[in-house]
Structures are given as C-alpha cells and as structure tokens.
Symmetry: D2
C-alpha cells in the first residue's frame, strides 16, 4: 500500500478493443498519476464471452478534483464500456466487523495488525458466541458483543448479528474462526462482503472437522482457504489458500496446531487483498491483483 492518498478504480466489462486506452486516456487527460495498474482478460469458457478486469491506483493530489467529481465525470465512459465499477479512496478506511468463537489465533493476529496500522482498517466491534475474549478485545478499546447461539435461538442470534453489523456500519465481516453458520439471508444480503477462513485446502474436506478428515485420508500437506461466504457451505469464491507439510508422526492435535499458523496468515492475506480492492469476483471465482 502506498503512503500517499490515492483512489482505486476497480472495474470489469466485456472484453473489446480499446478499454485500457479509454480508461487511461481519461485519467491522463486530467493529469492523473497512475501508481499501480493491473489488467486481466478472461477468455471465457464453454461459449461464454471473454471479460476484462482492471484495477488502477491514481494519486489523489495529482487530480484537479475530488473522488466525487471523478465518479461523475467517469460515469459516461463507464456506461460506454459497459463497466461494472467502483472507485474507493484510501483515506476512507474499511469498517471490518470481526466474528470469533473460542480460538485465539486469528483474533490476536488481526488485532496485532490493526494496532500497528499494518492493516488500514477500522474495527467497529467484535462479535462472539462466547465471552472468552471480551476482556482482551475491550482492552484494545474495541466494543465486544456477546451473542450466544444455541439450537433454540439461532434465528434471533442471526438477527442480532445482522443488526449489530448494520449498526456498526460494517462493510466487511470477517469470520475469524467463528464456528457458527451465518444465516443464508445474511450471506445473500452481503455478497463479497463476508470473508471466512476454512481450515482445509478446499475443495478437500468440506464441512466439519477437516483435520480429522485429513488425518484419516493420510495427506502429506494440510491447508487453509480464505473465501467469500455464500449460502452454500464452503463453496464460495476462493480468495487465497496455502498449505503446510505434515507427516505420519503428526496427530490430529498437531495438525490443528500447525493449521493455526496457516489459517491466520491466509486470512490476513485474503483480508488485505479485499480491503485494498484487489479482489474482483467473477462468477464463483476471483481475480486477485496482488
């Protein structure tokens, strides 16, 4: 991430001749200084048309106008190209609501990155189905909401989570080893906004107890997957994955322990890509401009 203020334009559209020329021409015309730019043409498959993706960072003070005016002037060009686009401002931090249960590793990791400003986010609150980390979270000056979940109160708990997310004006929800299922309606209402870390190398070992499944199959590497949450369990678009080597001497407990190290790293990387607008969805896949 650059230290000066910048705008990030992300966009996709049907591929055709002249897209970069049109978009970069607009920016150049207004003396916009491009800090970083990435482009990708997806050729499509099975008769789908090819689609174009781009991400451009423009130095804010190189432009003679603010973000709002950029958006106004760019709108007709976007219409002409059929762009699905947005412009974000590095000065406006993403508001990330963190969900956690009883495992500490992702929470400690995220708060360390937040407190050192390595991750340029605001955390308006942490929500948990346990009160294990109440003191730890509040010590950091972050509000903590305990929303217990049990067989009887699932609907109410989900409604409360939705309400807290709304109240916090969250734009991203991170499931930092949150062990309850998020209501399908909440997923549907926030596509590309809810990020989960699954403790396996998807699509292997979907669902519960993936390390037990991995142990039983005798795999030689275990993994973690950061993905957007959709209504279908563990099937959402994958943002980032990684693996770590194990061997026959590792018990399920050892795998759980090793797994923590990749879970927190993969989640932090995936979250960073997301908040820096590096992830563009494309059906059930992602384009990640690292």
């Amino acid at each position: 991430m650059h230290s000066e203020r910048f705008y990030t334009l992300t966009a996709s559209c049907p591929d055709r001749v002249g897209i970069i020329a049109r978009v970069s021409g607009f920016i150049a015309e207004h003396q916009g200084w491009i800090l970083e730019s990435s482009y990708h043409s997806d050729p499509g498959a099975n008769g789908q048309d090819s689609r174009y993706f781009m991400r451009i960072e423009v130095k804010a003070d190189s432009l003679p106008f603010p973000a709002a005016e950029f958006r106004r002037l760019f709108t007709p060009i976007a219409a002409e190209l059929g762009l699905d686009w947005k412009l974000s401002d590095s000065a406006v931090k993403k508001r990330v609501v963190v969900m956690v249960s009883q495992q500490e590793h992702c929470l400690y990791d995220l708060l360390a990155r937040w407190q050192s400003k390595e991750l340029a986010i605001d955390i308006p609150c942490v929500i948990s189905n346990h009160d294990t980390f109440k003191g730890f979270v509040e010590w950091h000056g972050i509000p903590f909401h305990h929303v217990p979940v049990n067989a009887a109160n699932k609907a109410d708990a989900n409604a409360e989570i939705a309400r807290l997310f709304e109240q916090a004006r969250g734009d991203t929800m991170v499931l930092a080893r949150y062990m309850q299922i998020i209501a399908p309606e909440l997923c549907a209402a926030h596509p590309g906004q809810i990020i989960n870390i699954h403790h396996s190398f998807l699509p292997s070992f979907v669902g519960a107890r993936p390390y037990h499944q991995a142990h039983q199959r005798g795999v030689k590497l275990i993994g973690a997957t950061c993905h957007y949450v959709t209504a279908e369990l563990d099937q959402g678009p994958i943002i980032e994955q990684d693996v770590i080597r194990i061997d026959h001497s590792d018990s399920v407990d050892d795998m759980v322990r090793y797994g923590k190290d990749i879970e927190k790293t993969v989640l932090a990387r995936g979250l960073r890509y997301h908040i820096e607008d590096r992830v563009l969805s494309h059906g059930n896949k992602t384009v990640v401009f690292r």
Copy 2:
C-alpha cells in the same frame, strides 16, 4: 543414501515395551553398526491398538555374516515381537518397470536420474500404449514394449502388461503419467508395488481432467500426489504430495505446464522413498521415514 553397502530392516508390530531394545540389542550383539534408524508409534484410533514402525540401516561389513544369516538369526526375535518385517540389501537394486503414455516429463526425469545413478534402480523395460518414446528409451539401452490399448483389447493388453512385468522380474511398477487404468487384478496381485502420480492434490479432483476441475473451482494452488495404486481409482495410500501457486491469469494449459514440474518432482521423491524402503504401509496410509 549411504555410499557403503548396508542392509535395511523395516518392520512393524503391535506396540509394547522393549521393541527397540530387543531389535537394537540383536544388532549390537553382532557388532552391527547402525547408520540410520527411525521409529514411529501410531497410537491407533477408534479403539484400534497402537502399532510400532521402524526402519534401521546396518552397515553390511560391520556384521560377521551375510543378509541370509541375518534373516535366519532374526526370525525368532521377529516371531517373539509379532513383527511384519523384511531385510533388503543396498547391493541388490530394485527392478522398476516404467509405464508411460505420451507425456515426456516424468520419463525424461526418471531416465536422467537413472543414467546419473542418482536413483539406484534397474529399469528392465519401459511399457507404453504409444510408441512415441520408443527411440528415446532404446537409445538409453532399455527395452521398450509397445502395448496398444483400446476399447476392444483391454483384457489382452492388461494380460500382456502383467506378463511383461513378470518376465522383467519387476518388483516395482511406476505409472509415469500412464493414462490407462491398471487392471484391478494386477493391482491386487502387487499391493504396495505399483506407484502412480496423480495430477491433483488428492483427495481433491479425483479422476479425469483434474486441472480442468481445479480451474473451474478457482483454487489458488494446484498439486500432485504420488500414491500406491489399489483397485479403487485414486484412493490408494498417499506417499508424497506437493503444490504450486497459480493465479487467475493461468489457463488450464498453464496449469498443465506448471503441473508437470511438480508431478515429476513428487513422483521422483515418492519413488526414492519407496526404493529406499522408507515407506511402510499402515491400512490406507503410509509411514514415510524420510
């Protein structure tokens, strides 16, 4: 691998007190010099008993007798401990029959390792359902058998493969991207002797066209798996696996190309572990003493 001649004792048995003491005591009693030794206790699961695994390399000329006498003297001790065991001699090279179809990467890689003596094996012959590599293999002085396979002759082809393997006195068969299915009877007749390289990170993407499956799911790493072949497709005990990073810009063709690099490396590693008697089977899993 050590340069001096040595014997390798591999064994497993129900775990109990005193196994190492008994086995290493026998070796010490005869002045055997241990070059390398590895032990593993598997605690079992779901009420299974724990099982003990070991691999010991003894310098041949430290012992006052040859391998046959070692075996004779060790037999009562093995019986006492309930050992499932064997003793191999580094001076007796494994005979590895290589099966290949039309992709070159694993074949070139194995022959390079064989010709430089990096892999201490004999290759009595290469068998293929195509004649693509006939000249290349024969240039190396290795007999090449062309056994075409089609819908009509499968049984005959499989019988011919079994006959050639027998005739070659093969003790290991390597499927170096051999794209036909080995007959279940042949698999059953040679448990732990037929090694395949599958071009995915199993258990993901079993069966045909795993790179297409991986591309469609949008994974961020692709893998390869070296495993023993059993009658059930892609379900045998895993010996070795590895992965390589890809991203949204990689087409299926790119994945095929990247995949070759891990396929040949993972196969070569798995084969090495096998021929050095580092792999002990344990149900559908392996203990690999690297």
Copy 3:
C-alpha cells in the same frame, strides 16, 4: 507434544556400536514405554570423529521411579558411553523471558500461543527498552520491565537485564525483535539459552537493515532465521529458517510487512523445538529432531 506426562532424554556421544541397544535396554529393563525416539549419526568432516545424537520420550507413569531416580540409575550408563546428556520432565515448564522493542508481531504471536497453552511455557516477565507494550503485557498478568538503553547506559542496562533474567529464574531468553545487542558476557554465560529471530535468510544480509540490503540486491525471496545467540553477531547456530516470495513491485516497506509473517512463524517454531528439547547443538550447527 503428547498430553500425558513424559520424560525427555537428550544425549550425544562419540559414535560406536551398541549405543541405542544400551540406552533403550536400560529403559526397557525398567518397563519404560517409549513414546517417540529419534537418532542421528553425524559422520564428522575433515578428520573429526563421528558423533551420535538421540532424543527419547518415555511415558512417566510407565516407570517405577521418578525423574531423579532415572537420573541416578542412568548416570553410570552415560559415563560408560561418554554421553553429554540431560533428562527433562514435561511437567516442569520452561521459564521463558521475552525481550521486545517496538514491533508487535512476535510479542502478540507468542502471547497468543502462551495464553491458549499451545506453547507449554511460563513467561515470568517481559523486558523492553521501550514501554510501548507495558499495558498489553500487564493485561495478560505478566510483569513488564522497562529497561531503557542508550549510548551512555549500555553496561548498566545489560547488567539490569542479566539481573532480571536471574531473578525470574529464566532458563530461556527470547529476543522477539529486540533491537539492542545483548552483551557478549550474557551470551557467553547462557550458551544455547538465548534465542533470536533475525529478519533475513542467514548468512545473507547480516547486521542492520537486512530488508534494505535484500531490496538493493534484487532477491526474489526474503527470509527469517531463528538462531541461538552467541557473542558474534548473527553467527550463532541456526535452529530454523523460512522464506517468502516477493517480486519487483515490493518496496522495502512491503518486505518489512511480509517479513513479519515469517519472522513470527519461524521464531515460534524454533522456540517450540527448543522448549521441547528437540534442538541439540553440535559445534556451530544444530540437530533438530522435529
């Protein structure tokens, strides 16, 4: 790590016939149940003699006597073999004094592992040349000592650190990105007890600002090294290392950020090996029985 109580015997000696037999024979004689055991023979170089290393975990309650009696009975055997050895007890936690400056990542990471009991250690205190993390550390119920260091007070500061380590009855000191040099006398007084994380893949980029050095050389991977501290800067025995991929688009700041993720992981792994008595020193190298 096993959940039941166990003793860990670590030892090294000149290599000869019968070492395993003698040691495992002693254990078996007393009905000791071996949970895990590892052996390594180092052949020596340049006319040095070969040396033998071992690590054996014995289930505590399988023995008819406590650790003290084990030590007493084993002493003559150790003398006979010329063993350099020790026996530790999993019920006695290592006391790890953590040193930190102003970077949060290793500290948060270690405290997360400590509070979840993933790392079975006691942290009697944290010492820092800054008071940045005083509140955070004390919130965890751990004493925090602020020992400022400047050009004028180095000797006093070092003496104070030595005194605090002594007072805390520390057996291990971890430099968790502590940016001051530990006095050579303190290093000399505690060989194999002070662990540092250096932010480069040693022996590349010794000394200050390794990421700047790496950026200037244009390397494609950056690394971190966990090593024992000796009087010679960044030259001590290496315990663990790892690397992460970077590319031309990464600035020094990006490298610092990526580096944090491997620094904390490599330090945690190295520390775990150390506290589980998996690291045996051998001149300026280590044997690590993972």
Copy 4:
C-alpha cells in the same frame, strides 16, 4: 503463452503522466487487441528518478499491418516518451545455445521441454567442455560441439565458444550447469543474453562449492538462483530463485541431489520468463512480469 500469434512490446522510460494512455491509445487506434499487459512504476531510491516499465501482448491478426510497420509507426511515440523498447514476434523463436559440463539434470530437463514444445525455442547447438552428452544431444538431432577447456587453452576455448554462438546466430546462451567461467568480454558483449543457474540462494555462498559452504553453516534451506551473467562472478541481475528444505541428516551429497531439483526448475522458469520477454533489466535488478 497464448496459442495465437502475438507481438510483445516491452519498454521502459522515465515515469510521467500519460504513458499507458499514449501507448495503449496507439494500439487501440489500430484496432490492436491486447491479450495481456503489465505495468510497473519503480519509485527510485536515493534521489534517482522513478522509472516506468511495461509489457504488452497484442494479437497479431488484430492489427492491419505486420511487425515491421508497427515498429515504424511506433518509433515517434517511443521517442516522445523516451522509451527504451523492443517488439518481438511470437512466430520468431528465440535461438538458445545450451552450455553444459557433466551433470545431466538441467540438460535432460531443457531437452524434454524443447522436444514437447513446452518451451518455444530453437536450440541450434549444445556446447560442452566434455563429450559426455554428445550421443544424447545428437540423438535429439541437435549439433553438439566439444570445446575442451584447460589451464593452457582458456583464451582459445572462449574464442571458439564466441565463434560458435555467433555462427549459430544465438540470441540467448544458457549455462545449464556449465562449470567453466565465461570470458568477461563475452559477458560484456551480450548483456542480458547469458543466463546462468547458480546452485545457491544468492547472495549467500558465492563461488565454488556452495553446498559445502551451506553444509558448514548449518542452514535449514538450500537454494538456487537463475541470473544474467555479468563480468563479476555471481553478481548479475537475479531473474528467479527458489529453495528447498533440508535438515541435519542431509550430507553434502544429499544436498547436491536435492539441489538438482530446484536448479533445473529455477533455470527453466527463468529461461521461460526470458524468452517470453517477461524480464526487463533495471540496473542490477530485474522486473519480471510473470
């Protein structure tokens, strides 16, 4: 690499507003279809000015003119921007002269990639200071030149190599574990054209016997580095690097063996980047648009 014919424009220039717009505008004006494009702005350091790098693939048959006309029309724009540029044509294969000594792994690997057309290159000849691989190379239909090198004939041998490279109309020379030093004058005459694979993770272990150096230092990972050759030994711009894990049980011979696997992979990757015009030099560093 795309299967359709395309031109690759690579260029660098002082950074300023409007570079992408000007270049992509030119392409769009002539209906050029951009298959892939990458941009990088290097901010400079220590008062250097920032510099811009780009690589653009344009589908050949989308343009109304051939490469020569592209070059003619683009020349004034390049002059205006101060571009250091070239345009290559995917239909014109690079001519790669391979240098080898007595180790087989890189040679087998390159020839396998060449014969399967995975690497889109011509190999006009192989040159070696030994005749070990004469038969193997010639079997592939590639001329083999034996140029022995000894203390007395170094100058003559180097002159002969230069002559053969010239005669072969080589545009790239690959040192595939060629164990002689290339004459500084030859290096100087072909900057960015001679590629070496060094068997260490540079800048560690420069010069001879890097695996012995690594063994002595007790590192936990070993590496390989693909770089452009300059007059200064092992100091040229790094194109690609990778590492592999080792441990205390690995002898120098084991390290040599492990090392082969990364050497050939890293060399193949680096060579691919080079022949696809993905590597742009920047002082003693490289921009690699993967």
